[in-house]
């Protein structure tokens, strides 16, 4: 019985090994050849490219820039995201569902569309600058587009929704009754937060922080578009090194450096979490929080004194404050998307100058004139996402069953191998598949480069871990006695699987599949490297349009893409409930 489950792992393991090791080996190998420029490489030279990269101030500064903007974006995400996640987790019921759907929707929106909204808000002639100069707060418009501040803002928007989802799932694990217990023992709201909620979620906060940090280091579209190609984070630099400078070996070298940095951060995250879970750390953490008590006493006593005579007023004020804070965060999350939606009804010329926010009049001109290239790109994205997701599901079921049910030695390692694509920055996945296609074409005479098949395989590679993760999570919660009950009632093994196991793991599979679908549907970097001239997925079309000659109709097309995302979300809510969807996703990641 248990021996058989092990065989379920065979095919997923082989596929994973070939794709992971193969592609990463090919691109890393490239970095050891002499850079000749113009797409040429010479004989193997060892670490010369690495030495050159670290000595070149352009490249070295890029590493520093990447670390700096990623750290700032991470701090921003945690500060903005934690209170929101806390309120969603604690409000419960209908409200929580509504707020969660909002966050989920924005997390599924493709990066270029978010950036589109940010550009309209933050550009020199944009809504924010006009308001600030118009009301006399600023003398001259402030420009953050094309500099590091803009990139930080872009990166925060890129991962904020995801950070909220992760933090939400962590806060959900802390029973509310612990906060009640703190309150009845005399702790104010603030002190309850500082002594109970924060310490208990601290390992989680660290893990989320490091996840967001590594996500930010690998983020491409947000950095490229908000920085206008002038702020060179590593992903942007890698992209330019390949497509502008055609220095393939150097691009490999930079990618390898980025990969090592990201893996180090992820490794640190893992170590930190296990360390924080040990008793030793728990104790020393307590000591540090005890020394913090003195400072906190001051704040707490002040508030207690203030609230004593007017307790109900204090209660009301506390509520009002949290409503205001959450409302503000929500506006921040939604503003860029709403701006895109509203501005898409401007109508008139297709030139950038026609984009005015708020729109002067309501017009469907841009919708009616949707270019064929956008429609085609939308179709390509749909087909691509559908095929890649289906393949991911087909591999996820046996992989999940094998991981959870078998007793094969080294299951932990196999599970880790399955998760590897989540650790690799997407830019590097794009680049490594790009190199692999050419290497395979050269070796066996196929024409993978620029083909739809290459796109499908690369997307499948990225999506599989999401589906495997959510199937594994739900299988771990699956009560094995259900299958025993079915067989005791006379069902054979196949009918047990079909009538009991599959329906129970179905929602997990579906949640993973929908999420994977939206990840594929919103992807830029992988498709950017692999798309041929004939097959351009939708986000890449938007990206190109924003990077080259701005066509206002990207606004209307983006609005339609978001409407599509909304429909998907409604579907999820109807079928399995958003709450379990969000949690299964966060669970699959962490």
């Amino acid at each position: 019985m248990t021996a058989r489950w092990g065989w379920f792992l065979f095919i997923p393991l082989m596929v994973s090994l070939v794709l992971t090791v193969g592609t990463q080996f090919i691109f890393i190998e490239k970095s050891f050849f002499r850079e000749l420029g113009l797409g040429q490489t010479g004989a193997a030279v060892g670490f010369a490219n690495y030495a050159a990269a670290l000595q070149n101030p352009l490249y070295f500064n890029s590493i520093v820039t990447t670390l700096r903007v990623s750290a700032l974006a991470t701090i921003g995400c945690l500060l903005l995201g934690y209170p929101l996640a806390y309120v969603i987790a604690r409000s419960g019921g209908r409200w929580a569902t509504v707020m969660l759907s909002g966050v989920l929707l924005t997390s599924l929106v493709s990066a270029p569309i978010k950036v589109l909204g940010l550009i309209i808000i933050f550009s020199k002639e944009g809504a924010l600058n006009r308001f600030l100069t118009g009301s006399g707060i600023l003398d001259a418009p402030v420009n953050i587009l094309g500099n590091e501040a803009g990139v930080v803002v872009g990166l925060i928007y890129y991962s904020l929704a995801f950070a909220v989802l992760l933090l939400y799932s962590i806060i959900c694990t802390i029973p509310v009754v612990l906060e009640d217990a703190a309150a009845i023992n005399g702790a104010s709201r603030i002190r309850t937060f500082l002594r109970v909620v924060i310490p208990l979620t601290f390992p989680g906060i660290c893990a989320v922080g490091l996840t967001i940090f590594s996500l930010s280091m690998g983020a491409f579209a947000a950095a490229a578009l908000m920085g206008g190609g002038r702020v060179l984070t590593l992903p942007v630099l890698i992209y330019q090194t390949i497509f502008l400078d055609t220095k393939y070996a150097t691009a490999s070298t930079l990618s390898a450096i980025l990969l090592v940095m990201v893996l180090l951060v992820n490794g640190a995250a893992g170590l930190l979490i296990s360390a924080l879970n040990t008793k030793f750390f728990r104790k020393s953490f307590n000591l540090s929080s005890a020394s913090l008590d003195g400072i906190l006493d001051l704040i707490a006593n002040f508030r207690a004194a203030a609230s004593r005579p007017l307790a109900s007023v204090a209660r009301f004020m506390g509520r009002a404050l949290s409503v205001v804070w959450i409302g503000a965060t929500y506006i921040l999350i939604f503003a860029p998307l709403l701006v895109v939606v509203f501005a898409s009804f401007n109508g008139g010329s297709f030139r950038a100058g026609a984009v005015v926010f708020p729109p002067r009049h309501l017009s469907f001109d841009w919708y009616l004139a949707t270019p064929y290239s956008h429609v085609h790109a939308f179709g390509v994205s749909l087909v691509l996402a559908f095929i890649a997701t289906t393949l991911a599901c087909l591999i996820a079921i046996p992989a999940g069953l094998g991981l959870v049910r078998s007793r094969v030695p080294g299951r932990e390692a196999i599970a880790a191998l399955f998760r590897v694509p989540l650790q690799i920055p997407v830019v590097i996945i794009g680049l490594s598949f790009f190199y692999t296609c050419y290497a395979v074409d050269d070796a066996v005479g196929t024409s993978l480069a620029g083909s739809f098949i290459a796109l499908v395989i690369a997307h499948f590679f990225v999506l599989a871990p999401f589906v495997i993760g959510s199937v594994t999570v739900i299988l771990q919660r699956f009560d094995g006695r259900l299958e025993e009950a079915a067989s005791s009632l006379g069902a054979n093994r196949w009918r047990t699987f079909r009538r009991v196991t599959l329906p129970v793991i179905g929602p997990g599979l579906f949640a993973g599949a929908v999420y994977a679908f939206m990840v594929s549907f919103g992807d830029v970097p992988i498709s950017l490297f692999l798309a041929g001239p004939e097959i351009t997925p939708f986000p890449v079309a938007i990206f190109h349009s924003m990077e080259m000659d701005f066509d206002t109709r990207v606004l209307s097309s983006s609005t339609m893409a978001m409407a599509f995302g909304l429909v998907m979300l409604v579907l999820v809510q109807k079928l399995i409930g958003l709450d379990s969807f969000a949690r299964s996703q966060a669970g699959a990641r962490g």
Binding site: A182, A183, I184, N185, S188, L200, N286, R315
Partner: protein, 357 residues
């Protein structure tokens, strides 16, 4: 303060939308008393506790502690101790720090805190576990930590929300006595919530039986057991045989009731009129098995269809004339009572309870 009830709930209501969890609820708990709210799940007993704790605000009504209106006071300023159903121990703090938490939050001096924690560890026999974490303790130990934490600050009022629900039967009985001992030793006014009637009877000074957001009856365990106010209370606390009857006539202070036990002559109760259907109740241990000729009061006969040996008594289910089942507790010293045997039994009329519903 003499004569003022320690905790007073006045006309308390709590509505969730159109649903009333609690309706015009009045209750007074005397100083040093342990009063238990007993009722089936969903009867509103936990709502009362959460209102007193201040976790939720009432839709209407007032809460007074020691004569002071605390209806709108924040939970952390009510000076209440509480033991939660799942204990709610802080998993990231040692046992000693869990117990110290409430004292630290209320700004006691470090030396005082240390002394008090040591005292409570001693009282709850947990001194050896002071530096361990909640996850490393057994259920019974966790329960004692929760109790120690709740009383550390010497609160005027202690709330306990099904504190023993998670323990197994044997341990629960030990802890019931332990809770009672500690509560008496500290003389602390306690409001206790449970759905376990044996537990309620074992530890309470008084019991309030709750049903559908209201108090069905308030009194000592024996008052409620012997004189249940209505059919719900009689059925909820202890076992009882309920059977229908019909009032034939009312004369003076007595009424004649037609029933499976024959026509009975019972003391008349207000609200019962001639011709009305009533419910009669008799507890299984109040029924005597005898020959019909030996019984002076109401009697009936039936066939034993089920028999369970419970140690001190044997529980018999007897099918009587109208096909209903009567539950009887008999002593084995009086006979063996095999299945299928026809027995005659009776009781004294004064033990029959009459309910108007």
């Amino acid at each position: 303060m003499q004569g003022v009830p320690h905790l007073s709930l006045q006309n308390l209501s709590k509505h969730y939308g159109p649903v009333a969890a609690l309706e015009s609820f009045d209750l007074e708990v005397e100083t040093g008393e342990l009063l238990t709210l007993l009722g089936p799940s969903g009867c509103g007993k936990t709502t009362v506790l959460r209102l007193v704790a201040g976790f939720i605000l009432p839709t209407d009504g007032r809460i007074l502690i020691g004569g002071k209106d605390v209806t709108h006071v924040l939970p952390n300023q009510r000076g209440i101790g509480m033991v939660f159903q799942s204990y709610a121990l802080f998993p990231h703090m040692s046992i000693a720090r869990n117990i110290a938490f409430g004292l630290e939050e209320r700004g006691f001096e470090r030396s005082h805190i240390r002394r008090r924690v040591a005292e409570l560890l001693d009282l709850t026999r947990l001194t050896a576990a002071a530096d361990r974490y909640p996850a490393e303790l057994s259920g019974g130990q966790q329960q004692r930590v929760a109790l120690a934490r709740a009383v550390a600050y010497a609160p005027q009022l202690l709330l306990m929300d099904e504190p023993l629900g998670a323990l197994d039967l044997k341990l629960r009985e030990v802890m019931q006595l332990e809770v009672r001992r500690i509560q008496r030793e500290l003389g602390i006014t306690t409001l206790y919530v449970t759905h376990d009637q044996t537990e309620a009877m074992r530890i309470s000074d008084r019991i309030a039986i709750m049903n559908a957001g209201r108090i069905a009856q308030l009194g000592t365990a024996s008052q409620i057991y012997d004189k249940p106010a209505n059919r719900f209370v009689a059925d909820f606390l202890g076992k009882i045989n309920l059977f229908p009857g019909k009032v034939l006539s009312v004369e003076g202070g007595e009424m004649r009731v037609q029933s499976a036990f024959g026509d009975l002559c019972l003391p008349h109760r207000n609200g019962i009129s001639v011709g009305g259907p009533v419910t009669l109740g008799i507890r299984p241990d109040e029924i005597r098995i005898k020959m019909a000729s030996e019984i002076s009061g109401p009697s009936a006969s039936g066939v034993i269809v089920d028999r369970s040996f419970l140690g001190n008594v044997v529980e018999l289910r007897v099918r009587v004339a109208d096909d209903s089942l009567a539950l009887i507790e008999a002593r084995l010293t009086d006979g063996q009572y095999p299945l299928g045997e026809r027995i005659e039994f009776g009781c004294s009329a004064s033990q029959i309870k009459v309910f108007s519903e």
